[in-house]
Amino acid sequence: MSSRSSLLTHSQQTASMPADVISVRKVQEGFQFVNSLASEGESDVEMSDDEKVEKSAEANDGAIVTPGELVTDDPIWMRGHGTYFLENKTYASVAGTVSRVNRLLSVVPLRGRYAPETGDHIIGRIAEVGNRRWKVDIGAKQHAVLMLGSVNLPGGVLRRKSESDELQMRNFLKEGDLLNAEVQSLFQDGSASLHTRSLKYGKLRNGVFLQVPSPLIVRSKNHTHNLPGNVTVILGVNGFIWLRKTSELDTANNSSAVVGKNAATLSGASGEFKPGNNSVSITRLEEESSWEIYSDKNDHISDVMRKTITRYSNVIKALAHCEIGITEARVVAAYEASMAYSQIGSLIDKENMEAIGQDVINAERMRGNA
């Protein structure tokens, strides 16, 4: 299931020692690179160059290719990301899946940094406060830019940004602050420009942050989900995730709240989309745009709520560990599966994480969703 573990062929005397205090998995003879290469039957890919040329046909949509592998020799295809062109043939330059959109051929890498796209709902962390702009770390190649003009300032949106705003930018957002935002546009070099001009965007409070590989987040219409237990999750497309106590705004905004057992019946990218549901009228926005939105104070969060948030955080990590795409329905399903473990701390053990992942997959198979 995990692509990483296949690289390390550690078999011989693997044993684990589950203990209350520490779980130690001991592998006597480390990695056996030499051995696994020597044993012919085990090697994964055995393909000589001749075979590749012979194959010559086109790799189909969704096929997995490795760097240097011929994708097509038909010159009519437009070459997108993850490919290169040599002597009228198109080769893959990354390991990933082939994607065909009309005439555009590209390879989507299995791993790699997040590549921003316009409209993505993402979470970022302020890296630098600059001249009329913030530099935001969004886990991409470059830092994204958030212009002073692209945020809601206290006193209403339609207010002109004054010089005094420029001088107190650190009072709004400072280094280390987390915010959720939308990618407004992309620059020539692929870096993103963000905006937070909606009430569902802005500074994040009342919760915890965790990060998963960005390809695991499935793009959908809605990335803010109210989960059972009064917890709201924001699944940033860039793999940054924020779990927080559900606020009044969340309940007002989000119609796709799933409750209890029924949640599991929802398919992957769920949530009914109602136009205008998430947008807030300008007058309302003005009301809300007080200094409140840049507050650095958390609301009171009960111990029970903290425990629920921790459990959600651990099951999301478990899903990521099992390389399962993270959607609202799966998070809820995994949460329910995790209830078998009364100790939240036991969810960090590998075996338990894998068991939860297996549960989620099996449940989906049973319903024929997967």
């Binding site: 044993a15 779980s23 130690v24 001991k26 650095d296 903290r306 921790t310 960090i348 053990d349």
Partner: protein, 263 residues
């Protein structure tokens, strides 16, 4: 990684509440799961790699050399390299100095004794490939596993060579396992009134203070000292917390040793 103000206050409140709510749900005395690989470097006498669940990774290699122990005072040399930190930074040099002091004073020299004249000298090289929290606990686990998997050449000449000008000779391929009691170093975070073992990076960032406790021969021993885990939340702690930390190590250390040594 810099945390935001609200994240820090959330974490600090959680950790300072009674009982502490750790961000990954661990109990106060629970370590993060680790994976230990041993004996994989063919050119070393002993080696180990320890990987923690947060991706922290530490490699240790043990090599030996035969020296005249009347001439060479130090029989243990420790070198520490931490990726992302300059070798001459206070952080790395402090860790290296602490480790080498502990190991050179607390490892039993008689275990390294070869003959009346010669001893093995151990070169312990520590390489931390990636670390997010204070790496001392992990390094100490790796050193422990490496030393416990160390195989030294088997002596076939006489061990009484004071009067003869004879150099030790060794068996062609037989080895003897190094049998030595290795000290473990634990870092703990003190948060409010709570004491937490093996703090993760986000826990370290909001801890009021850290404390280093060494465990050897079945008891907590020196060095015991406070460690700065961050600059924002660091403050004084009550003497009671210091005693609690030592008590906690007294409870968990035997279990950790069993888990590391067992199998």
């Amino acid at each position: 990684m810099v945390l935001s103000v609200t994240e820090k206050s959330y974490l600090h409140e959680s950790l300072a509440s009674v009982p502490p709510a750790r961000p990954d749900g661990r109990k106060a005395d629970q370590f993060r799961p680790i994976e230990v690989f041993t004996d994989f470097l063919p050119a070393s006498n002993g080696s180990s790699k320890v990987v923690a669940s947060d991706g922290t990774e530490c490699l240790v290699s043990v090599k030996c050399k035969v020296v005249d122990h009347a001439v060479e005072e130090d029989l243990v040399v420790v070198d520490v390299d931490i990726a992302g930190h300059r070798d001459d930074s206070g952080f790395v040099q402090g860790i290296a100095s602490t480790l080498s002091k502990v190991l050179s004073t607390q490892l039993d020299r008689s275990c390294l004794r070869l003959t009346k004249k010669y001893s093995f000298k151990l070169y312990i090289d520590v390489l931390v490939l990636s670390s997010f929290s204070h790496p001392l606990t992990l390094i100490s686990f790796a050193v422990y596993s490496a030393l416990n998997s160390t195989q030294l050449p088997k002596l076939i000449s006489s061990d009484d060579d004071l009067d003869v000008a004879e150099l030790p000779t060794f068996h062609d391929y037989d080895f003897v396992k190094l049998n030595v009691s290795v000290p473990l170093l634990f870092t703990l975070a003190i948060c409010g009134k709570n004491v937490l073992v093996d703090p993760a990076s986000n826990e370290s960032d909001v801890a009021n203070n850290g404390i280093l406790v060494t465990w050897n021969n079945g008891k907590a021993t020196a060095p015991i000292r406070t460690l700065g885990l961050n600059e924002d939340y660091v403050s004084g702690v009550s003497p009671q917390s210091l005693q609690d930390s030592i008590k906690m190590i007294e409870q968990v250390a035997p279990e950790v040793l069993q888990a590391l040594g067992g199998i």
